[in-house]
């Protein structure tokens, strides 16, 4: 049965400046969504298919293509916004849950942008990072809360505390978990190379580990999610660390489905499921139904890998975040990644993406505070993730209490992603979020890895400069150092929760 909605207003309009256009056809070749086609020697446009991926704009040699967003107005209304109305039309037509790609689009204030950083002026000197060392080296994992010593027969004292395995990062920026399957192999290889080059680590996501990534396995954090895709003892042993995914910021409380059409032969091999079968990650781990089951899984993984690797857990930031973090910190994990509500995703129900969870800034601040209060801060490292957009977000997250961050959307953007949010279509024109061989081939891992490494390198330099200006020469002196932040136009309640003073105070 058809609906009476007819054609919905265009989301984007593509136009070609015909005076500039030389009919080279690169737009036709580059657009995988079918916006352009030849009609004789003229290029026709179907703007309805456009996703604003910018591939055509980028590859037009004459800058002849222009994209306009929302070219057709609705009657403006502050309550019945365009997005509200379009969602209603969509659901009235289909009767289904609306899925959407990438992170939250809700227009809520971003706390990071309301936190100002400190710099030294007269009472303390800034550190000049060109001249003096500024240490960004970060160790992730359990740390002793105090040290034990024993006396040797000759009277010398030696350390008897054994340190548990930690990951050593040259910079507190890691590449977050995005699965092979959601992303192409070339995207994964590019990020893995960048991780190796910059002395950091990359998450596999829950799609297993493709043999093409084995050369970089000592830079990979292998993820164990509720679907256990690709998880066996070889996989666990290959990783530098193992992450148990308990939740995701973009969709707290629910699992995920990789649709069967994305389960290609190669993806099926790394996930160890039949080709074309849906890959369903249930909402919970079905062997964790109570908090006491979590240490069972943690210890099981540790027993299987003989206590040689740090174990991480990733949770979504929700209301009782502090309690969740303290509970996980007691489970024996070595690090906890907290994913804020703006975290990205290949696909999530729109209502979850835009309405469930709390901001990462708050989650990190409350986690750090609660762990200190309960004497657990050295038990785990904290990793902030979910919309870390630039180097200042990194430094602010650390000052609020994180040890390191995961970046994901930012890394995709470094490879060319325009954040069009159509990952779920599997037609990513940049070769990032697709399995179609011709599209995957567009992403040259050599070039893309350099770009990701450049981004990490540039942020690292900026962090070094900002730390130097604040007179801080080691990253652990920044961690939880909220006195070096000030809140600008944040309300009193939020400032108290963040344990940050207002500007001027």
């Amino acid at each position: 049965m058809s609906s009476n909605f007819g054609s919905m207003p265009l989301r984007y309009r593509i136009s070609i400046d015909r005076e500039q256009c030389m009919e080279c056809g690169r737009c036709v070749e580059n657009c995988p969504y079918g916006v352009f086609r030849w009609d004789g020697n003229r290029i026709l446009i179907n703007s309805r298919n456009c996703t604003a991926c910018h591939r055509c704009v980028t590859y037009c040699p004459r800058d002849a293509i222009m994209l306009q967003e929302q070219p057709c107005d609705y009657r403006s209304h502050p309550v019945w916004t365009r997005s509200v109305r379009e969602s209603i039309y969509n659901q009235a037509r289909t009767g289904k849950i609306i899925l959407a790609g990438m992170g939250s689009v809700s227009n809520l204030p971003i706390i990071f942008d309301h936190l100002m950083l400190d710099a030294c002026q007269v009472t303390t000197p800034p550190t000049d990072p060109l001249r003096e060392p500024v240490e960004l080296r970060t160790y992730l994992g359990k740390k002793p809360s105090k040290l034990e010593f024993r006396q040797k027969p000759n009277g010398d004292v030696e350390l008897s505390t054994e340190l548990t395995p930690n990951l050593m990062l040259e910079t507190p920026i890691m590449l977050g978990h995005m699965s092979y399957g959601a992303l192409s192999l070339n995207a994964h290889v590019a990020m893995a190379r960048a991780a190796k080059e910059t002395g950091t680590y990359m998450g596999t996501g829950e799609g297993g580990l493709h043999p093409g990534l084995y050369p970089y396995q000592d830079r990979m954090i292998v993820q164990v999610a509720s679907g256990r895709f690709g998880v066996n003892i070889d996989y666990l042993e290959r990783g530098a660390a193992i992450e148990l995914k308990l939740g995701q910021g973009a969709k707290p409380g629910i699992g995920g489905h990789l649709p069967g059409e994305k389960v290609s032969a190669d993806v099926s091999r790394t996930r160890m499921i039949p080709q074309g079968s849906d890959a369903i990650s249930p909402a919970p781990h079905h062997d964790i139904y109570g908090i006491e089951d979590l240490p069972q899984l943690v210890n099981s993984v540790k027993e299987a890998t003989e206590y040689k690797k740090p174990i991480f857990a990733k949770i979504a930031a929700v209301n009782n975040n502090a309690e969740n973090v303290a509970a996980v910190a007691r489970s024996g994990v070595d690090a906890i990644a907290i994913d804020g509500f703006r975290g990205g995703t290949g696909a999530a129900p729109r209502v979850f993406r835009d309405h469930v969870g709390i901001p990462i800034e708050v989650a990190i601040a409350t986690a750090d505070k609660e762990l200190r209060k309960q004497g657990l801060r050295n038990e785990v490292s904290l990793i902030a993730c979910g919309s870390i957009r630039e180097s200042t977000d990194v430094i602010k997250a650390i000052a609020l209490g994180a040890d390191a961050v995961y970046i994901a959307t930012a890394a995709l953007a470094a490879m060319g992603c325009r954040v069009c949010g159509n990952c779920y279509q599997g037609l990513c024109s940049w070769g990032i979020a697709t399995q179609r061989p011709d599209l995957v081939a567009r992403l040259d891992p050599d070039v893309a890895s350099k770009q990701v490494a450049n981004l990490i390198h540039a942020w690292t330099l900026e962090i070094t400069e900002l730390m130097g200006a604040a007179g801080i020469n080691s990253i652990e002196s920044l961690r939880g150092n909220r006195d070096r932040l000030r809140g600008y136009m944040l309300d009193e309640g939020l400032l108290e929760i963040l344990d940050v003073k207002s500007v001027g105070a």
Binding site: E135, P144, G471, S474, E476, G480
Partner: protein
């Protein structure tokens, strides 16, 4: 910036405060005349077994009753009296310095390895955190802090420190940046055994404060030296670190240096940075600290603040400037300027 000074006699020979007053005033260019302080060990031999509590009362008539009642809950007051003072024209007294000689009830900290110090620590935290018009400025046995807003000479004369004899003295000439009127703000800071004077300003106050506060300390004044005193107490008394390791935890080596160390040393230094990353002090500082058995001095690892060490017979001096040492010991035998990462640790003969 501030000027600091410390002197210790290794054989516990007493020095009266006049020489220290002289030494500190040599560094008046480093101060602003809005704060100075002294601390001396060995000054109360008659009450050597009592904890001497130096307290500032905003209004003695109101605050003293609160402190008396609190002390009586935690132990026994052997004696209490106003600290003798002598009005100075340039000092504006806004509080009443008082002292108690106090015996804590060790049974109130059951299971502790150092119950008396736990009781005193709790007491100090409780009174200093409360809005009760009372601030305990020192709390150790046979030790006392004397400080006020003013130039070193005026503060010394106000307390008549030449009347006190001690075998370790620390002193601080303050360049005020905030609350110039508060008498409890200049260094030294003291918590029972440990006293601290600092030149500089760390960039890690917030991180360090949150760290010590997670162990039950309560930082009420917002100054570095308070946090440093608590850090040293925590690391040495509660965590059992030898003082050299405690200093290394507070001012650790760079990772590059650690990477080049022999394996056992590397392991130790890595463990220290792992365990005490949040206790690490960053930014410019020279710290001189003392307890009844030793005087120590150390700087930040970038050596952003000066530290001069003098030795003469049984005397060990640590100061911001050589002039201060020579003011007290014109014929000092050796003057050195230790590098960053080379703490000075002088111990009193047992």
């Amino acid at each position: 910036m501030c000027g600091i000074f410390g002197v210790m006699d290794k054989r516990r020979q007493m020095m009266d405060g006049s020489g220290i007053r002289e030494a500190l005033s040599m560094m008046n260019e480093r101060g602003s005349g809005e704060g100075a302080g002294y601390v001396a060990y060995g000054i109360y031999p008659d009450y050597r077994d009592c904890y001497a509590l130096h307290v500032f009362f905003d209004k003695a008539c109101e605050s003293k009753a609160v402190v008396d009642a609190t002390l009586e809950q935690w132990g026994t007051i052997e004696c209490d009296e106003a600290i003798p003072t002598c009005d100075q024209p340039n000092l504006k007294a806004n509080c009443t310095p008082w002292r108690y000689f106090f015996r804590p009830d060790a049974s109130l900290a059951p299971g502790s390895a150092s119950p008396e110090k736990d009781v005193v620590t709790n007491l100090v935290m409780q009174i200093n955190a409360g809005a009760n018009g009372a601030e305990i400025v020192s709390s150790g046995k046979n030790v006392g802090v004397f400080k006020a807003s003013g130039w070193p000479e005026d503060v010394a004369d106000y307390y008549r420190i030449e009347d006190y004899e001690g075998y370790i003295w620390l002193a601080h000439n303050r360049y005020a940046t905030s609350n110039p009127d508060l008498w409890e703000r200049p260094d030294p800071f003291n918590l029972h055994d440990w006293s601290v004077v600092e030149n500089g300003k760390t960039t890690t106050y917030g991180a360090n404060r949150r760290y010590v506060e997670s162990f039950g300390y309560n930082c009420s004044t917002g100054t570095d030296s308070e946090v440093i005193a608590y850090l040293i107490d925590l690391l040495t008394r509660k965590h059992g670190l030898e003082i050299d390791l405690a200093i290394r935890a507070l001012a650790p080596s760079y990772w590059d240096e650690i990477d080049r160390m022999p394996e056992a040393e590397q392991k130790l230094n890595r463990a220290l940075r792992f365990a005490y990353g949040s206790a690490t002090m960053n930014g410019p500082f020279t710290v001189v600290a003392a307890n009844p058995d030793m005087m120590i001095g150390f700087t930040d690892r970038g050596k952003l603040r000066p530290m001069v060490v003098g030795e003469c017979g049984d005397r060990l001096y640590i100061a911001s400037e050589e002039t201060a040492i020579r003011a007290m010991e014109p014929c000092v035998e050796s003057i050195t300027r230790p590098a960053a990462g080379e703490p000075v640790i002088g111990r009193v003969a047992p």
